[in-house]
Symmetry: C2
Amino acid sequence: MKLRFVLAEAALELVPKEAWKHPAVAADARRRGREPGSILLDRSTHHEAMLRLKDGPKRGRPDLVHSSILAVTGSPLYLEGRVALYVHTSGDIVLEIEERTRVPKSYNRFRGLVEKALSEEEGSGLVKAYRSSLPQLIKKLGADRVWGLSTQGAERSLDELAEEVVRFERPCVVVGGFPHGHFAPEVVGACDELVRIHAKPLEAHVVTSRLVYEIEKRVATAGTR
Amino acid sequence: MKLRFVLAEAALELVPKEAWKHPAVAADARRRGREPGSILLDRSTHHEAMLRLKDGPKRGRPDLVHSSILAVTGSPLYLEGRVALYVHTSGDIVLEIEERTRVPKSYNRFRGLVEKALSEEEGSGLVKAYRSSLPQLIKKLGADRVWGLSTQGAERSLDELAEEVVRFERPCVVVGGFPHGHFAPEVVGACDELVRIHAKPLEAHVVTSRLVYEIEKRVATAGTR
């Protein structure tokens, strides 16, 4: 079993052109000595500039993407090469993290890495970036079965889901990389099944760490006793 | 049951005086428009300045502290007021997070909050800061039993540990908030038992999220099915 883990519609993008001249963005870019179009859109500093953006509430949360990535990359399952990790952004760019790579735990270093990858749309050796819709990515991954985690899905315990996931050779789990709202129809369409694992919405990194852990418990790893 | 969760000897401190004049620190402080003594020591930017510090490898990892805090505060157990969260730093300052408070998920906002709390040594309403050794803190918490998680402890599964923890009314779990090394003797002395939950060392946020999750599974919360 090797898990394909996809963070979908992630709230990760460079500042879009319509916000370049907003004072909140311009000041931040100047402080960092960068062009507005080469920095990540981030609600924690660009909130005012985001009020008029389309789908604003779903965008500009690189912190959420970072914590979700760390929840995967810190796990023994990942460190033993049993997880392939993909970040699909709301703008249809996929960041593919090279197997077993340690992503920077410092947010500001992570930000620098992602800004570079998104600017070049190719990325360095550790993080490849390319254009792809979520359905195209899923197709490429050649998964046996695809579960999407969503509060709109059918109620199942995480235990039960993990039991099922490990029965497949190439399972794929999709978690939303945005702070509010639901999967777009094309993402729902790319999943075989939508599953709801908790009565309330959970943060992406919480869902991610619990899911990876429950799967890891059912797979022999070198650290297992 | 209400869990007392303590991140102990956390690698969180303001830049110490002996490093204020190092170019790596001075440039960073200038860039941020701050005094060197009022910014957090951070290996990701101050590495060169840390080479000569005593216990250097154990220090300057605010990112690790942040991800561990988020692993607690994102959990339903915490959100329902079943976890009291304390960060004890290597310099014997305790940050006490007010119950059910949402700590900033943006690292740079978190940094600002902590810098303020450590500078004033009192903190705002959300985060109180006061001087206390780890044994003093443990005594104050009035715990029934204290488990320290350490690779030097006795091997036990996390399942088994969680089963035991929830049998107490006021259990306390201590996790190391540093990247390498082991608990200081006085921390070991303050624990009733040291437990090793994995064959390999795990990152603090990974240990934290798994532990809170296993405890939560055994406690009825509003989201439980």
